[in-house]
């Protein structure tokens, strides 16, 4: 029999409904797994007692035939989602002790669907990072290691704790958020599926804001079908988020028909960047072959402004962050460092409460929005962003999807790339353009590099066409047949017998 923690979300759901397993035993197996993977530091807060209670409730609802879409499914929640009465930190010291008096819309939707929350996962501080190294609660270690190399690796970021927990089989799925690649890049690094939906698909209400025109919540899972099921439970219009779209939520899982014959898949030539790892490029070519084999028509397309996407992002995102993070002032919640005057209290609180990367981005954002520089930087970036979005519009007149690598390299060692912020920013070179255009994009695990680390492929779709993204991802998933798992031997916490 498959271990309960090795089930996919879809399998667990079916076995729960068929009464082959109980929500309590499923929760217990995952609670033990959460305890075992503590050395990875994937969770900031564990809510294991809550999980046991929720699982009992789920069994009751299952018995009464009142099961929701995720009834009894153990999930991990990125610690960027406000959860009522449960510590919510955004991995920042400045939110010290913050227990939200409300629940984010996405986690409320998941709760209503019957999901069992195991805990809040670690992330880069305020989701600003691609390695999970900027968390106030310490870095997350990837469950993966290079062959013959014992150095700990990063899980990617910012949703690194979620990715590590899913890959290490401590939960059946997790929520992530993606601003410039924060779901897709860690999914690729950890060998799992990560879907960033269309901007507006999932409500942002109650998610700690980083860059409001880019932030989007999405699922992180071990299969494409699981991502489809999770997204269905997370998505939906919410009047409390004025950018939440009034689009109907289709049955995403029903789109997985396993057939992409006749679908037109574009390969953006500008993504063949110099300096990209040759194994990443080889896997991309392999992905193109798989698409052809499955009957899709593969065509070259051009996204001419791709090379400006990162610079655009590193103006827009910090600008929005500097405005969003103005609320952390030591008055209403979180950390307060006393000062002689109000101004001094603000300045000392923010100096102690924010880490180096957050400060860097708030300062850049403040500068590009300041009098005399607004037009040269922020307005210019918003114009280039319009051109980047137009590139995608034009490409999608010719094709249904775009196929690219997810990240330019596999995972790297803890501490690498820390000296040069720009080298770290380059991790997001393939994911940022779709974020700027608000388009849905998925990363699926598609192969291993020679050193044994997972690599991901990205599919980008038209706005609100997650169904086609998922359909093609399902076909590539079958052809890639990625079954490798990280070897955690020797790194797990001792558990009580």
């Amino acid at each position: 029999m498959t271990a309960l923690t090795d089930l996919t979300l879809a399998e667990a759901r079916d076995q729960l409904r068929a009464k082959q397993i109980s929500a309590v035993e499923l929760a217990d197996a995952h609670i033990r797994a959460v305890e075992r993977i503590r050395p990875l530091n994937a969770f900031i807060t564990e809510t294991l007692d809550l999980a046991r209670e929720r699982a009992k409730l789920a069994d009751k609802r299952l018995a009464e035939g009142k099961a929701g879409a995720l009834e009894g499914i153990p999930l991990a929640i990125k610690d960027l989602f406000c959860t009522e009465g449960v510590l919510t930190t955004a991995a920042s010291h400045i939110l010290k002790g913050f227990h939200p008096p409300y629940e984010s819309t996405v986690t409320a939707n998941l709760k209503r669907a019957g999901a069992v929350m195991l805990g809040k996962t670690n992330l880069d501080e305020f989701a600003m990072g691609s390695s999970n190294m900027t968390s106030h609660y310490g870095p997350v270690e990837s469950p993966w290691r290079r062959q013959g190399d014992n150095r700990p690796l990063v899980p990617g970021g910012s949703s690194g704790g979620s990715a590590a927990a899913v890959a290490a089989r401590a939960c059946l799925a997790a929520t992530g958020t993606d601003t410039g690649g924060s779901i897709r890049q860690p999914a690729a690094f950890c060998g799992i599926v990560g879907l960033k939906p269309t901007y507006g698909r999932c409500s942002r209400w109650g998610i700690v804001a980083f860059a409001s025109s880019l932030d989007q919540a999405g699922p992180m899972t071990r299969s494409v079908k699981d991502a489809a099921i999770m997204l269905g439970a997370m998505a939906g219009h919410d009047p409390k988020d004025s950018t939440s779209a009034e689009e109907p939520v289709p049955d995403f899982a029903a789109s997985l028909i396993g057939d992409i014959r006749g679908l037109r898949i574009g390969v953006p030539q500008e993504y063949r960047l110099e300096g990209t790892n040759p194994e990443v490029l080889a896997l991309w070519d392999q992905g193109i072959e798989w698409a052809k084999e499955a009957g899709a028509e593969v065509v070259d397309v051009s996204l001419p402004h791709t090379k400006y996407a990162l610079a655009t992002y590193y103006i827009v995102a910090p600008a929005e962050a500097s405005a969003n993070l103005a609320r952390y002032d030591g008055v209403r919640f979180g950390l307060r460092v006393p000062g002689k005057s109000l101004e001094e209290m603000y300045e000392l609180t923010r100096a102690e409460g924010f880490g180096a990367e957050v400060k860097r981005r708030v300062l850049i954002g403040t500068y590009v929005l300041s009098a005399g520089y607004y037009d040269a930087y922020y307005l210019k970036a918003q114009k280039v962003r319009a051109l980047i979005a137009r590139d995608f519009d034009q490409a999608f007149q010719k094709v249904d999807l775009l196929l690219t690598p997810t990240a330019p390299t596999p995972s790297f060692a803890v501490g690498e790339k820390m000296d040069d912020p720009i080298a770290m920013y380059l991790n997001d070179v393939f994911t940022v353009p779709a974020s700027l255009a608000g388009l849905p994009a998925i990363s699926i695990p598609a192969g291993l590099a020679r050193d044994g680390l997972p690599l991901g492929l990205q599919l980008i779709g038209r706005a609100f066409d997650e169904s086609t993204v998922l359909r093609a991802a399902g076909v590539l998933e079958t052809l890639a047949h990625f079954t490798e798992q990280p070897d955690l031997a020797g790194r797990l916490a001792e558990t009580r017998a």
Binding site: F98, A245, A311, M345, Y377, K383, R385, L387, A389
Partner: protein
């Protein structure tokens, strides 16, 4: 663009983040490097482009101007680092 120490100090004041004098120079160097990098956008001709104001084409929704939530004073004050009675407190601002 190269930022000097005085500019970094001014921006830090605008951002209400206290930066010790000793950190100004390294921070200026770091931020200058990032600004120089993002200035590659100047290569792009945007003379006939409207700045992108929203990501998804939709009309900003309107709703009735009515109270939809509230009466939760105690819930909200619970997170305050230094609440007194029914109020948030701050250092004295008026002499």
């Amino acid at each position: 663009m190269s930022l000097d120490k005085a500019t970094v100090a001014r921006v830090a004041t605008l951002a209400r983040i206290r930066v010790p004098e000793a950190d100004l120079a390294p921070l200026a160097a770091e931020l200058s490097k990032i600004l120089t990098w993002i200035e590659e956008l100047n290569e792009v001709d945007t003379s006939s482009v409207e700045p992108m104001a929203r990501v998804v084409k939709m009309k900003l929704p309107l709703r009735e101007d009515v109270v939809t939530d509230g009466e939760r004073r105690d819930d909200i004050l619970k997170n305050a680092p230094n609440a007194t009675a029914q109020f948030f407190t701050v250092p004295k601002v008026v002499e």
